[in-house]
């Protein structure tokens, strides 16, 4: 089974449990898999595929409506407009007849199918303006989202809105925990291994990552509170408090570059990816894995920076 077939399988099943997803991923053909950046190193294939499907807006995992499992997103044409040209990216559920219909309907437009490792082919349709694509989506009975990156990013809370996250104590005992503290010293930002006792010591502040069975949990100790929150949000909140900038925007190349350990939160990243339809490319800059998002308009870069409480470099 290829990632394309996996998405067809998921679309036919519509929703399911995490175990069903893992079982389906186990059938994936690994021939095209590529190494992942350091932050994703050691991730199993099912994790890489899961994140790619999520980032590209095909499947939602662990959402309120889908319980602990996954649920397929209805087929949607995600539009973005730049330099007088509109592009639609096909996200969500796929079925062979649907794909055939869309391809036929886009016969007079530029239809693009680009394979990408560990995720389904990226399907894009280019048109002179957005209205053509909106009409096409309507004709084929699929949803359409105009100006997707902007709309998406505009509705995301910024990372400093941590009031909504759960207050939860850190584990105080246990042998299987790997405990690390996020340390920012001069130009160095890294995870430093500490003990559970040190993390729980009174007065200790900062971000802690506690991993058990390859599942990290992030706890932010600030003041008298300990908050459990997603890792990327916690990292960017810490950077915001320390006034560290990590987003580098190249206006000429229209690319946004950041270190792999600072991969943005899921929906923020989805907004960036839907500017092109492609997951970020991975490169090594001075020995450090770096992610580059392409075709990012400056406004979108600005919105991203605002959500992440960053200033662009």
């Amino acid at each position: 089974m290829t990632p394309n077939e996996l998405l067809l399988w998921l679309s036919a099943r519509k929703a399911g449990s995490w175990s069903q997803f893992r079982g389906a991923v186990a059938h994936l053909d690994l021939a095209s898999s590529t190494p992942e950046p350091e932050e994703d190193a050691g991730q199993h294939l099912h994790q890489r595929v899961r994140f790619n499907l999520e980032r590209l807006g095909h499947i939602e995992f662990g959402a309120e409506e889908s319980g602990e499992g996954w649920r397929v997103v209805p087929p949607t044409l995600a539009l973005f407009h730049y330099d007088g040209r509109a592009t639609g990216i096909l996200c969500g559920a796929r079925a062979l007849p649907l794909l055939e219909r869309i391809e036929r309907a886009a016969n007079e437009l530029a239809f693009e199918r680009v394979p990408h490792p560990d995720c389904p082919d990226v399907l894009r349709i280019h048109a002179p303006n957005s209205q053509i694509l909106i009409d096409l989506a309507q004709q084929e009975g699929i949803s359409c989202q105009a100006d997707t990156p902007t709309v998406l990013l505009s509705h995301l809370p910024s990372v400093d809105s941590i009031k909504g996250w759960n207050r939860a104590p850190m584990p105080v005992a246990g042998n299987d925990w790997d405990v690390e503290q996020f340390v920012v010293e001069r130009k160095t930002m890294k995870w430093r291994t500490i003990t559970l006792q040190e993390a729980n010591a009174p007065g200790v502040q900062g971000l802690f990552r506690i991993t058990r069975f390859q599942r990290p949990q992030y706890f932010l100790r600030e003041g008298r509170e300990t908050i459990k929150l997603p890792g990327p949000v916690a990292k960017y909140y810490t950077l915001f408090r320390l006034r560290r900038r990590v987003l580098k925007y190249d206006r000429k190349e229209r690319s946004l570059t950041l270190l792999a350990i600072f991969r943005p939160p899921l929906l923020t990243e989805r907004g960036l990816i839907l500017c092109s339809g492609f997951p970020p490319s991975v490169s090594n800059v001075r020995g450090r894995p770096t992610l580059t998002y392409r075709d990012i308009p400056e406004e979108v870069a600005g919105m991203t920076a605002e959500v992440l409480k960053q200033d662009l470099i």
Partner: protein, 735 residues
């Protein structure tokens, strides 16, 4: 003549007279002793023979702590020699343990303890039962016991029969009180500790011996190494059950043992313990799980282990107990999986099996190591081990407790040859029983067996396969053979064929490969399975799909009219009892919209953002960062763009913007700063608005500064004047 001198001849005379009597007496004593010695020797022989029978693949399991061999080797005859003649003596359990020469020590382990307790409670003689009595025809001992009795001669030792009885029917709960009482004694503990050990391990091995002469498990032959049969992990559920059947087959008759009360009672006790025959094999496993031993490390489970210094079990683990246990405990397999990457490098992993109702996550233990299993649909997460080569040889056992309190045990039986093939339920190659004609396999075999395996493969017509070694990811001591596709059926050797796995049978099978399988036998339309015929198809086989003759496609699969159309399909071979069915299902064409995330006034699902009605008036605007102060047509409609280090600000604004002003109109640079007009919307007459002063101040400040409108038109200038006038009036009114 003194008195002394007078007595001397009398003594001599008396000695002469007494000599024959003494000689007769001594001889009379020596005779039974010799008989006893002979009997004991015969007993040992007989018992050994029984043990052999018990440890043979088709034989009876023994309880873990019944160390018959040890008991006999440690000089039971010598102990008997020191018994006080024929006179039966009541034996106290503690006493018997204090004195190793006592007859009780003939039987060791838990059985001995039980025996001691039993004797103590009954206060009856063991040794007085030295002769068999005539028993009813139906109650005669089993064949083995009869043979033992024959070897023992005219005096089959009770202890011998007793041992056999204990082996077959170790006491269970019926004697639990007695057992525990005996265990409570320190002497007994010591005894148990001393007696546990190799024999105990071996007794477990007995449990997991192969039930029949096939010598195979699901995935090939049992490794010939003696270690292979040394521990529980070699026991597959089926084998256990089969072994149990053997146990039943060798059970002694209900009252068929010696006429003595003691043995009869013991037999009766054993029969009382015997559970109903319908109990399943899983129960045997549950007993093992239920009593995890401290010394169980999970490493080298199949190897000999010295006697662990540990407390004795509170309850024995008799084999017969298995039959009375709950059937809810689970015994599952661990399969071997081999996956190749694009460079041909392989990775070997272990796949614990999963049943539909099992937990998604289970914490399991293998020895001292704790693992966390995360479920896939039909498997748990594949496990990788650094010493996978050892695992393959020695097996792996995982034990865990499910959320519903059922115990689960996963087992990989160690062996020297593994056959792996593609499987619908998992990717890569997964271990299977044996080679199948026409199917491509991967064979993993111990390096030392390679010549024999290759010879067998040659017989099976396998050609062109590639050898894989450590450079390809195969563990040390193993060789991999990839692309093994047999074409000739190979008959098995009589009896146990160690190379069963590499000798394909001629059976014809219908196989479905590839496609997109939605679940069970249902495939997605557009992605039907490839239908293949495996086995000996040298003779023409007519395959029909839905009653129409199938034809071979280019890739060797079989296709027929409409075989890939939605609906149910049946594939069968004409004249053979070989058929399979599958169905094709259309994909859905409607997917409902649903909210995955809620953020303020929007719901997000994939790329779709559904803005709630209360935020429906918001619209996207892009404005230069130089003019972040946005004003609407209605006084009070003011919006300040968030600061961004970009040229243009883009985002949602809650009204139709008419004017965009500099952030601080009054202190901006007049030469460069401008007012930007976005719309020609006329001023809306002020209603009862409260917060209009900000809107007024922005307009009046920009006006006071004398800022010009960047895209000014004649109408724009007029409009701006109207806005200015309204702002002035509103501010005045507000004062």
């Amino acid at each position: 003549m003194t008195k002394k001198n007078r007595m001397t001849p009398l003594f001599i005379l008396a000695a002469i007279v007494a000599a024959p009597v003494v000689f007769w007496f001594v001889r009379r004593r020596a005779k039974p002793r010799a008989v006893k010695e002979n009997t004991e020797a015969a007993s040992a022989t007989t018992s050994s023979g029984e043990v052999e029978l018990e440890t043979s693949p088709s034989e009876v399991p023994r309880p873990p702590e019944s160390s018959v061999l040890v008991a006999e080797e440690e000089g039971a005859p010598a102990k008997l020699e020191e018994l006080p003649s024929e006179t039966p003596q009541p034996v106290d359990a503690a006493q018997s343990l204090d004195k190793p020469e006592s007859n009780i020590s003939l039987i060791q382990g838990d059985a001995a303890i039980l025996d001691a307790a039993h004797v103590e409670n009954n206060n009856s003689s063991v040794i007085e039962i030295t002769e068999p009595s005539v028993m009813p025809e139906d109650d005669r001992p089993t064949e083995h016991q009869a043979a033992a009795a024959a070897v023992a001669g005219a005096e089959p030792e009770t202890s011998q029969v007793y041992t056999t009885t204990v082996v077959l029917f170790p006491a269970d709960n019926v004697r639990a009180d007695e057992t525990e009482e005996a265990l409570a004694r320190p002497e007994v503990k010591q005894s148990a500790e001393l007696q546990a050990g190799p024999a105990g391990v071996q007794s477990e091995a007995d449990i997991c011996e192969e039930p029949d002469g096939a010598g195979t498990e699901e995935n090939g032959p049992i490794a010939p190494s003696p270690q292979v049969s040394d521990d529980v992990p070699f026991l597959s559920p089926a084998e256990t059950f089969a072994g149990h059947q053997e146990t039943i087959a060798h059970d002694p008759p209900a009252s068929g043992e010696p006429e003595t009360q003691h043995v009869a009672a013991y037999t009766a006790m054993a029969l009382t313990v015997s559970p109903p025959p319908e109990a399943g094999f899983a129960q045997v496993l549950s007993s093992e799980i239920g009593e995890p031993s401290e010394g169980d490390t999970g490493e080298g489970q199949h190897l000999y282990r010295p006697p662990p210094q540990r407390a004795p079990r509170q309850t024995p683990r008799p084999v017969t107990q298995s039959l009375s246990r709950s059937t809810s405990d689970l015994a599952l397999d661990i399969r071997v999986q081999v996956r190749f990457d694009r460079f041909g490098f392989c990775e070997i992993r272990l796949l614990p099996e999963r049943m539909a109702e099992m937990d998604n996550e289970v914490e399991v233990k293998t020895g001292g190591t704790e693992l966390h299993l995360v479920a896939q649909e039909e498997w748990y997460q594949d496990l990788t081990f650094e010493n996978i080569g050892d695992r393959l040889r020695r097996g792996l056992e995982l034990k865990g407790l499910l959320a519903d309190h059922r115990r689960a045990r996963w087992l990989l039986t160690g062996r020297d040859i593994y056959i792996l093939a593609n499987q619908q339920r998992a990717s890569g190659f997964v271990s299977t029983t044996r080679l199948v004609l026409g199917r491509s396999h991967v064979v993993l075999c111990a390096a030392e067996l390679l010549p024999q395996v290759e010879a067998a493969l040659k017989d099976a017509g396998c050609q062109g396969y590639t050898k894989l070694d450590q450079a390809h990811g195969i563990p040390s001591g193993w060789i991999g053979l990839r692309g093994v596709t047999p074409s000739i059926a190979v008959p098995l050797e009589p009896g146990i064929d160690a190379f069963y796995a590499v000798k394909p049978a001629p059976d014809i099978e219908i196989e479905f490969e590839g496609g997109v399988c939605l679940r069970n036998s249902i495939w997605l339309a557009g992605f039907p399975p490839r239908i293949k015929l495996l086995g000996d198809i040298s003779a023409p086989v007519k395959v029909l799909i839905d009653g129409k003759e199938a034809v071979a496609a280019g890739d060797g699969s079989l296709v027929g009219d409409g075989y890939d159309q939605p609906g149910q399909h049946l594939v069968y071979c004409e004249g053979l009892s070989c058929s399979r069915s599958y169905s094709i299902e259309d994909p859905p064409d409607v997917w409902e919209e649903w909210p995955a995330y809620h953020f303020g006034q929007a719901e997000i699902c994939g790329p779709r953002v559904h803005i709630l009605p209360q935020a429906a008036g918001w619209r996207i605007l892009s404005v230069p960062m130089s003019n972040p102060l946005l004003l609407g047509a209605e006084p009070g409609q003011i919006f300040r763009c968030s600061p961004r280090s970009v040229k243009n600000w883009k985002g949602f604004v809650p009204f139709d913007v008419v004017w965009a002003l500099p952030a601080h109109p009054y202190i901006c640079d007049k030469k460069t700063a401008r007012i930007i007009q976005f719309a020609q919307t006329p001023l809306v007459l002020p209603g009862p608005k409260k917060h209009v002063l900000g809107w007024c101040a922005a307009i009046l400040e920009a006006s006071a500064k004398g800022l010009q409108i960047e895209n000014a038109s004649s109408d724009g200038t007029v409009l701006w004047k109207e806005y200015k006038k309204a702002a002035r009036n509103l501010r005045r009114a507000a004062r």
